[in-house]
């Protein structure tokens, strides 16, 4: 390990590596609870489908406020354009 070349001696390096090896080989605690792989597969599929739907829906969600704003602007323009005629009528 070329990055272990300063300050830590070779002896200390061996101690560290031994300590980390023991830590890595330690058994799983009793509290480790992993779901059944079939259950996880179903969950993963659902998440993937949901993510795909979200990607498809994203442009639609983005366009919704744009449509509302365009509608409001169009209504305003129409009102301004029609205002002289409306004033004549009323």
């Amino acid at each position: 390990m070329s990055w272990f070349d300063r300050n830590v001696t070779a002896d200390e390096e061996q101690h560290l590596a031994g300590y980390m090896t023991r830590l890595g080989a330690s058994p799983l605690p009793r509290t480790a609870r992993m779901p059944d792989v079939e259950l996880l597969w179903v969950k993963a599929q659902m998440l993937r489908r949901w993510e795909a739907e979200r990607k498809v829906q994203a442009p639609l969600d983005l366009m919704e406020p744009v449509q509302i704003a365009a509608g409001l602007v169009a209504a305003g323009v129409l009102l301004v354009w029609a205002l002289p005629s409306l004033l004549k009528v009323f």
């Binding site: 390990m1 990055w3 272990f4 300063r6 300050n7 830590v8 200390e12 061996q14 101690h15 560290l16 590596a17 031994g18 300590y19 980390m20 090896t21 023991r22 830590l23 890595g24 330690s26 799983l28 605690p29 009793r30 509290t31 480790a32 609870r33 992993m34 779901p35 792989v37 079939e38 996880l40 597969w41 969950k43 993963a44 599929q45 998440l47 993937r48 993510e51």
Partner: protein, 167 residues
């Protein structure tokens, strides 16, 4: 999208989950967090743009997802913690009783990032580039960060009289 089927997924999961769980457990210090992180990492991997037949690439990728998920949790905890600390006056440290064993006590005294760096370097045997990818860090900074983490762990082990020879 990766070419997953249920059998490929089950096979990869059975071979890999223990390593990812231990990594998440040792870095977060909480079994319940490790459960959540592993589940989410494996759920996300099937949506990844990666070849499902590339075992080593998949393994690295799942560690990377786990690293990102842990980083998200630390950031969220730091945000929430800063408010809580202001209210309480002092931070509250929770240690999983099962985590606090004789082997891991010194390791638990490191910061989460130091734990992740050392775990990936020693237990997973990753090189600098792989560690950088897994933790979202620059490759150039890994050497310095690892050096500091190693020196800190060595000091902790020395201070508590724990050495590989002694045990």
């Amino acid at each position: 999208m990766a070419n997953w089927d249920e059998r490929t997924f089950a096979s990869f999961y059975e071979r890999t989950w223990r390593a990812v769980w231990l990594y998440a457990y040792r870095v977060t210090g909480h079994a319940s967090d490790a459960d959540d992180i592993v589940q989410e990492a494996f759920c996300r991997i099937i949506s990844a743009e990666i070849d499902a037949s590339d075992e080593e690439g998949l393994r690295r990728y799942v560690f990377r997802i786990a690293g990102n998920l842990m980083a998200d949790r630390w950031r969220r905890a730091a945000r929430e913690g800063s408010w809580l600390e202001r209210l309480r006056g002092a931070p509250e440290v929770h240690v999983d009783p099962e985590y606090d064993d004789s082997v891991s006590r010194e390791f638990a005294a490191l910061t989460p990032r130091e734990r992740a760096l050392l775990w990936l370097a020693y237990v997973e045997g990753d090189n600098h580039q792989e560690i950088a990818d897994a933790l979202g860090l620059r490759r150039g900074s890994i050497k310095v960060l690892l050096f500091r983490a190693r020196a800190k762990l060595r000091d902790l082990l020395t201070a508590r009289g724990v050495t590989a020879r002694a045990q």
